[in-house]
Structure formats: C-alpha cells, structure tokens
C-alpha cells in the first residue's frame, strides 16, 4: 500500500498536509455551514408568508430536518428539551453527515477516528456537568453522594466511575461501528468491486442513521439526568 489513496481533501492545497480525519471533518463542516446559510436565507425570505409552500424546495427541506430533530428531542426530554436542541442538533447533524460521507468514494469519514468521536462525546460530558451546575448550583455535587451522607465515601467513587464510563462508551461505540462498517465495505470493494459491496453499503447506510440516533438518545438521557430534580 505504497501508492497515494485519492481523497477529495487532496484537491485543496491547504488541506493536503492535514491528517485525513481533520480535513474531512473540515469539508463536512463547510458543507453543513453552506446548507445552513442557504436554508436560513430561504427561510428569512418567506418569513412573513402565512401559507406554507406546497412543494418540496430547499427551504422546506431544511425546515423539515430542523423540525424533526427538535420534535425528537422534545418528545424524549419533555418541554425542557428546547434548551438542548442547538447542541444536540449540531452534534447529530455533524455525526450523521460524517457517517454518511463514508459511503461516498474519496471521503474517509472523520468519525472512524477515535479523536473525532471522543471530541463529540467529551463535549457532551462537559456540557452535562455545566448544565447540572447551572441548574442546581453547588447542590449538584449532592447527586454524587447517594441517598445518605454516611454512604458518600462508597458512592463517590462508584458515581465517578459511572460518569467516566459514559463518554468512553459513547465515543467508543460510534468509532467502532463506523470503522467496522467502513473497513468491511473497503474489503468487499477490494475483492469484488461490482454489485457485491451493495448490501454492505446498504447496511452502512442503516448503521450511519442508527448510530447518530443512539448518540442523540444517550446524550439526551445524560442531559435530562443532570437537570432532573430527583434524589
């Protein structure tokens, strides 16, 4: 494997020297930003319209994506979920587009590198505790102490281990699934390039959506655990 593997990033001179997961994440982010700006402009243009457009245009498509995302979040977290739509929606779109980019030849998905997935999961980890402190103040630390104060020396390490396991499992799962899927597709492509990788690529499509949904679901569960007023 001495020859250079073609990637779209190698077409840009300033992205050439970066490692592939960084350059691909940058390209995907740029695509997402362009979609967001175009969608925002279209929505702004018909902000005052009362009757919605009948046919599917770019603007309505973006509106549909945002609405379904916020519906999922509010359904799972209750009315307070609106505060988290921005953070979880951003992560979900970034991960989804990165996962799907693995199916396009010439893209190495950024999520098949541990650094990217742990960046995402550590963001969730830090933000859960930020929201926890914002909601409860210093009393948030009481959540770590368990039901009775004399159980604290026992409960604190247990809780700490449990909390460290969360971002690790989030990042590891996403990384493992996307790497495995990408590798299997590549191996099948190397064996028989015609038609045989098709079912595997279909499976890859499924995995991309499911893993995004799992990431969303778990981060929502962690957020609602941090802001809940029980125990």
């Amino acid at each position: 494997m001495e020859h250079e593997v073609f990637t779209w990033a190698s077409l840009f001179p300033f992205l050439k020297k970066l490692p592939p997961h960084v350059s691909n994440a940058l390209i995907i982010s740029a695509i997402l930003i362009v979609i967001a700006i175009l969608g925002y402009r279209q929505l702004k243009k018909r902000e005052d319209d009362i009757v919605p457009e009948g046919k599917l245009t770019f603007g309505t498509f973006v509106e549909m994506i945002v609405e379904s995302l916020s519906n999922i979040i509010v359904d799972t977290m209750g009315p307070r979920g609106r505060e988290f739509v921005l953070l979880i929606g951003t992560l979900a779109l970034f991960i989804l587009f990165n996962n799907l980019s693995g199916l396009v030849p010439g893209f190495l998905p950024a999520t098949d590198n541990v650094n990217t997935t742990f960046a995402c999961s550590l963001t969730v980890f830090v933000m859960t505790h930020y929201y926890g402190f914002k909601e409860h103040g210093v009393k948030y630390l009481k959540q770590f102490m368990g039901p009775f104060w004399w159980l604290a020396p026992l409960m604190v390490p247990i809780e700490l281990i449990g909390h460290i396991a969360r971002p690790l499992s989030l990042g590891l799962r996403l990384f493992g699934n996307i790497t495995g899927d990408h590798l299997v597709t590549a191996i099948f492509f190397g064996l028989v390039p015609l038609l045989v990788p098709l079912p595997v690529m279909f499976l890859g499509l499924f995995v991309a959506f499911v893993q995004t949904f799992v990431f969303m679901l778990l981060s929502m569960a962690y957020f609602s655990g941090a802001i809940s007023h029980e125990h």
Binding site: P157, I161, F213, V214
Partner: protein, 91 residues
C-alpha cells in the same frame, strides 16, 4: 378498543413501536457501559497502586467499585423503566 377506533389503535400501535425502538437502542448501550465501568475501575486502581506502591489491594478495591458502578447503571435504568410504565398507566 374496538374496530371503530381502528384509526386510534393504529396511532397507539405506531407510538408503541417507536417507543420499543427507542428503548431497544438505549438498552443496547448497557452492555458496553457495564464492561467499561469495570475496566475503568481496574485502571484507576492499577495506577493508584503504582503511585502508592500498595499492589494489589487498591486494584481489587476499585474493581469492586467498578462492578458496583455497573450494577448501579442497571438499577438506574430499571427505576426509569418502572417510572415510565407507571406514567403510561396513568395516561
């Protein structure tokens, strides 16, 4: 619900299907989290052992903490399921 409420039944069926998928996905994370809890416990104990030169006591103690953390994950999930069931009954 009788046949005349077919539409309503369809809707509740769809809702419950959605819930099943959701809970399946969130329970599927349980295994990985349990395993990682034990691994993290052992890792913390191991490095503390090296630091304090008390091998192997802290490794064993923190392994037990890790197992307890794994069990706590299940207990928390069970409580959540119970609460969801009760809420569904009231509706």
């Amino acid at each position: 619900m009788l046949e005349k409420d077919g539409n309503l039944m369809d809707m509740t069926l769809q809702e419950s299907k959605k819930d099943v998928v959701k809970s399946l996905l969130s329970y599927s994370s349980l295994g990985l989290e349990m395993g990682l809890s034990v691994a993290i416990g052992i890792a913390i104990g191991y490095f503390l052992d090296i630091f304090f030169k008390t091998s192997p006591y802290l490794t064993i103690i923190f392994m037990i903490f890790g197992v307890a953390a794994a069990m706590k994950t299940i207990i928390v999930l069970l409580k959540k399921v119970q609460k969801d069931n009760e809420r569904d009954k009231h509706q």
